[in-house]
């Protein structure tokens, strides 16, 4: 379990991390999202003990990274932004060095490295010098390095950078697989990756947490009840009918897809179901509804909305546990 409390990091007068607190439970995969310079890497560097925080604490399974660094660092595998590989070593030599650095017992090293290289699929390059490997393979060696010693916690800073699409999918599967037995924090620019892998997403902007939740709920909460509907009939009459209704707060006209039908996006007033409203309007005016589809914000849009809102002073705190349970219950119904 990772616990981060009131983390602050100042570089001179510039505050890179502003009072961040969060918890990652065992077996969770937490995704860090944020624009460049948001403080993702700084936070990760502090958690792993590479740099020290100005104030605040980090504990890994109850071991403080500053007071008990040896025990805490033993439990962490870290893949930094640039894989920390020695160009003039072969892959095996390098991983062996990392194993010795982590104090792995001599007779355990070989089976451990074989297992890890097999998992990450780098066995066939094990004898090559790292300087002769492509960026994708260096990245994989970096990931393999993080796994040496089988740490409970993995911190991965943009693990899929520099990989080709096929490798990205492979690495994702590897990370998902690892997520079953590890606690993972990963940062990424690629939002689809985060929503595919992570159980929870944390969006950071300018050194502050602006939103924390599961990818689905984050998208739900921000998009509200938005529906795309397709209605047969005269476009102007339809739009006018929806705009004049009190129960519809937002009407957005889309480009026509089907001949003789209008596509619009509607948002309902709180406490009402816009689908019902749409049905009633259609019934009154004699329109025919062809399609009703829930229109959720993609994580990209959520990300943009949240970072923009954060700049305007709106914040999205994590839903309280009871509230979250209620929401889940409602969803199940």
């Amino acid at each position: 379990m990772i616990e981060v409390n009131n983390l602050v990091k100042n570089y001179g007068k510039y505050q890179a991390v502003k009072d961040i607190s969060f918890k990652v439970e065992d077996g969770e995969i937490l995704g860090f999202l944020g624009p460049n310079g948001a403080g993702k890497s700084t936070t990760m560097n502090i958690i792993t003990g590479y740099i020290s925080a100005t104030s605040g604490t980090v504990t890994i399974d109850g071991h403080d990274i500053l007071k008990d660094p040896k025990e805490a660092k033993k439990r962490i595998g870290y893949l930094p932004e640039i894989p920390p590989v020695y160009m003039d070593m072969t892959v095996t030599e390098y991983l062996k060095f990392v194993a010795e650095l982590n104090g792995v017992k001599k007779h355990e090293i070989k089976p451990m490295l074989d297992d890890i290289m097999d998992k990450i699929k780098i066995t066939h390059v094990s004898g090559k010098l790292i300087k002769n490997l492509s960026k994708g393979y260096r990245q994989r060696v970096g990931l393999a390095q993080a796994l040496v010693g089988y740490p409970d916690v993995l911190i991965l800073d943009e693990p899929s950078v520099g990989l080709d699409p096929k490798q990205i999918i492979e690495i994702r599967d590897v990370i998902k697989e690892l997520g079953k037995s590890h606690t993972i924090i990963l940062s990424s620019h690629i939002l689809s990756e985060v929503s595919a892998i992570c159980t929870r997403v944390m969006i950071i902007n300018k050194g502050k947490i602006v939103a924390v939740d599961t990818p689905e709920r984050l998208s739900d909460r921000l998009s509200g009840d938005r529906y795309k509907i397709r209605i047969k009939g005269d476009k102007e009459a339809i739009v006018a009918a929806f705009k004049s209704s009190d129960l519809i707060t937002e009407t957005e006209v889309l480009d026509d897809v089907e001949e003789g039908a209008a596509d619009i996006i509607i948002c309902g007033k709180e406490g009402t179901d816009p689908r019902e409203t749409a049905f009633n309007i259609a019934k009154d005016k004699g329109f025919v509804i062809l399609l009703v589809k829930s229109e959720k914000l993609s994580l990209e849009e959520v990300f943009l909305k949240v970072t923009e809102d954060a700049e305007n002073g709106v914040s999205y705190e994590e839903t309280a546990p009871e509230e979250a349970a209620e929401a889940e219950e409602a969803e199940n119904k």
């Binding site: 560097n45 792993t48 590479y50 660094p69 040896k70 025990e71 930094p80 650095l101 982590n102």
Partner: protein, 287 residues
Amino acid sequence: MSAIFKREMKMYFSSMIGYVFIAFFVLVTAIYFSLLNILSLSPQFEYVFSSVIMMFLILAPILTMRLLSEETKQKTDQLLLTSPVSVTGIVLGKFFAASAVFLIALLITAIFPIILSVYGTIATAQIIGSYVGFFLLGNCFIAVGLWISSMTDNQIVSAVATFVAVFLLLMVETIVSSASGNLTFSLMFAVVVALLIALYFYNNTKDKGISACIFVVEAAILAVLYFKKPGVFYGLAGNFAYMFAVLTRYNNFAMGIFDIGSVVYFISFICVFLYFTVRVIEKRRWA
């Protein structure tokens, strides 16, 4: 620590550096051996070492220039510092590796006094003393080089700075003996030290006002002392600089005097610079 030591040793001998260092050292020693012992028919091997000492100007940078600077540059320090190894362990591992390569080179040169002993009588005590002193002296330069290497991420900067540092250490005695009695020189030295203290303070607090105040106070104290008690300044610079006169200490060994004080001096000199190295790395993490 042992993992780092092993890796560094492997690096010295999988790249050219280790071989170049050993070959260069043995070659230079061999040249002086031929000139000073064989050709001049003298059994006094300690002269060879006294002549080789100047070679530390090149030898120390070769050994230490990439030790820590390369880690910072390649970002591999992220691996080391996030591993369950202490900073002291990292620094010691690197220091012992460089020291071991130096020791290997030194042991190879032992063949020269052995050759001498076959053909005549040699002053064993003096030669062993020379070896011990030379090894300790070399380690002092390695420690200084390691410290310099920790402050930059550029190997060339590290090498040149180490060259200058070793040069100053070798020249300390000469400079001190010719200038220590001079009052103006001592005063200038005191002013420079005062300025350095103020700059150090500024570097740590980034507060111009307070740093300036500190310098003004220091200058005032110096001025008062200069006019009221100029005696304080006599030998001030000399005594300070003498603390770094490693060569003087070495000469004791070369004369066959096994002086415990000098051994302690060398070991503390090494420890101080290794401690500085640890502090530099730690400080970077806190910056």
